[in-house]
């Protein structure tokens, strides 16, 4: 779809009041840690923003990311903003299928060359082009073809960002994230399994308003949402500081809401906004529901040992390995002692008799 109507026009047509829109802009500006002096600019820019064409590519994924984004909110201003992008291609949501769907993608690419956004969920298999195809096109070929004219690429979810679960050892399909394949386009990773809906609307709002990407961390994630660890913003942090830990899922500590560190919480090493934005319209997040953070927004989270092992635990190796080390030590120690005794004996024999 060509970029014609502005976002302000679109919201007007949908009956959204200016007051509600300004409130949304203030909330978004606050969420993105923008200084208040930039909020009027955000309002004006969003009002006049053209609806960007978005091509959504789904590769090796479970549709959880799309589910998260489309179902977690009842229609809200954020939801309408999301509706107000021109979503020209999305397997799950579009009515067209087969050749017509692919034609829509090609048309959107042609009409908006250099301006459209590519959103990717799911990892890309490199092992065999036949592992995952769409309309007979391999995921890799479709990605590389589509990103050619893209203004930016947004990787939704940990699979698209870092390879995710498909990338987990032994990685049978050779799955990788977008970042490993696309080097010449701006990339934003919105990691999480699934990611928080507000984060994607926040990133889109920022792009619509300022025509640029927000500040990103070393993993290309927006700092506004991934700048702090879950642990730093966790409401249970005070229990960690006091040394009050739940030892099991049903002990007194768990009932009192104490820190879940000993139950394997990955909050200290996981960067995401779950503890502040939460899920289901701000109702809760995993730790608030009594389960330790799995660290799903971090690379290789599936391969970092048990979800229920505290982060201060380590790999001890096998008993056989340690026994071998002990036997080797005893052997070397014995050999040393024998050599020392021989040397001593030789030295005594050389000593002149007094």
């Amino acid at each position: 779809m060509k970029q014609t109507s502005t976002l302000g026009d679109n919201l007007n047509n949908l009956g959204i009041s200016r007051r509600a829109f300004v409130k949304f802009c203030a909330a978004t500006g606050s969420m993105m840690a923008l200084p208040p002096m930039l909020w009027p600019q955000l309002v004006q820019a969003l009002e006049n923003a053209r609806r960007p064409s978005v091509i959504w590519l789904s590769f090796q994924e479970c549709t959880g990311c799309s589910e998260s984004l489309t179902r977690s909110h009842s229609p809200t201003v954020e939801g309408l903003i999301f509706d107000s992008i021109s979503l020209d291609y999305h397997h799950t949501l579009q009515a067209a299928s087969g050749a017509a769907a692919e034609a829509a993608r090609l048309q959107a690419m042609e009409e908006n060359f250099g301006k459209y956004l590519v959103v990717v969920d799911g990892s890309i298999p490199l092992g065999n082009s036949g592992f995952s195809t769409i309309a007979g096109i391999s995921n890799l070929d479709m990605l590389m073809e589509t990103v050619k004219g893209a203004a930016a690429v947004i990787s939704i979810g940990t699979c698209a960002s870092f390879g995710g679960i498909a990338h987990a050892s032994p990685n049978p399909t050779g799955a990788v994230g977008v970042m490993e394949l696309v080097k010449d386009k701006p990339i934003i990773n919105v990691s999480g399994c699934p990611p928080i809906p507000m984060v994607i609307t926040g990133v889109l709002s920022h792009y619509l308003a300022f025509n640029s990407l927000p500040d990103l961390d070393h993993l290309h994630r927006p700092k506004a949402f991934y700048g702090h660890s879950i642990h730093d913003r966790c409401y249970r942090r005070s229990y960690y500081d006091k040394g009050q830990f739940a030892e099991s899922f049903d002990d007194e500590g768990a009932k009192k809401g104490w820190c879940l560190y000993k139950l394997g919480c990955k909050g200290p090493t996981t960067y995401n906004a779950c503890a502040t934005l939460k899920w289901n319209q701000g109702v809760s997040f995993p730790i608030e529901s009594g389960h330790p953070c799995l660290g799903c927004s971090e690379p290789d989270f599936w391969d970092k040992g048990s979800f229920y092992a505290a982060q201060s635990t380590t790999q001890w190796g096998t008993g056989e390995t340690l026994a071998t080390a002990a036997v080797a030590g005893v052997a070397v120690g014995t050999a040393n002692a024998i050599i020392a005794r021989r040397r001593k004996k030789q030295a005594q024999q050389k000593e002149p008799e007094s």
Binding site: S229, D232, G243, E247, S312, T314, W316, A325, V332, G333
Partner: protein, 217 residues
């Protein structure tokens, strides 16, 4: 593989292998050393008692030098106690031991551990400064002494930094903390940290040897 993955995984496994190998090597090497047979008649029959008594008496400052070595003696006790309280009673450390032993024990409040660790660090640093500036200690100190102190200080420093989220991200600080412990494990059998295992056997041996000749150890 991240630095933390390495520290928690292969880094720790190799450090443990090297420590076990090194301890077995040194202990067997020491116990199998040739010793001259003492053919004299023992002055006492209770050599075992004498050995055990020496372990106890050597744990107190000798009366003759009590005034001169009081600071060194009791500050040594203080930092060893602080060190072990920090290791054994901090919540995340207990999780580490529970993973190995299959059982845990109650932890102390984290602020208490933090204060103890900070005091322990301060005492240890004071002892290092004293070692450097004391004319006698300086002469009898070698590289082994300083390396042993260094590898002992680093885990306390990195542990406090990890707790306070100081300077780096938590995962980096946790990785550095675990790596510093691995350094202790590797150095343990190579230097004077072995006193942790040798202190009582050597006192016992000295006590029995002296007592056999009728000398108070």
């Amino acid at each position: 593989m991240t630095l933390l993955d390495f520290a928690r995984g292969p880094g720790f496994e190799w450090a443990l292998i090297l420590m076990v190998f090194g301890i077995c090597w040194r202990m067997v090497g020491l116990f199998l050393l040739s010793r001259r047979l003492d053919l004299s008649k023992p002055r006492t029959k209770s050599l075992f008692r004498a050995g055990m008594l020496t372990i106890a008496t050597r744990s107190l400052p000798p009366h003759e030098f009590e005034k001169k070595i009081r600071f060194q003696h009791f500050s040594g006790y203080a930092w060893h106690i602080g060190f072990f309280v920090t290791i054994l009673f901090y919540g995340p450390h207990i999780a580490f031991f529970k993973d190995l032993l299959g059982f845990g024990w109650p932890s102390l409040p984290t602020p208490v551990i933090t204060i103890i660790a900070a005091i322990t660090l301060a005492i240890l640093l004071a002892l290092v400064v004293r070692r450097i500036f004391h004319p006698v200690l300086r002469v009898i100190s070698g590289a082994d002494d300083y390396i042993s102190v260094f590898v002992t200080v680093i885990p306390i420093v990195t542990g406090l930094m990890a707790y306070a989220h100081m300077a780096f991200r938590y995962e980096t600080l946790l990785a550095l903390h675990i790596l510093s412990i691995e350094l202790v494990m590797i150095w343990f059998p190579l230097g004077k940290l072995m006193h942790a295992l040798l202190v009582f056997p050597s006192r016992y041996q000295m006590g029995t040897k002296y007592q056999r000749r009728g000398v108070r150890a």
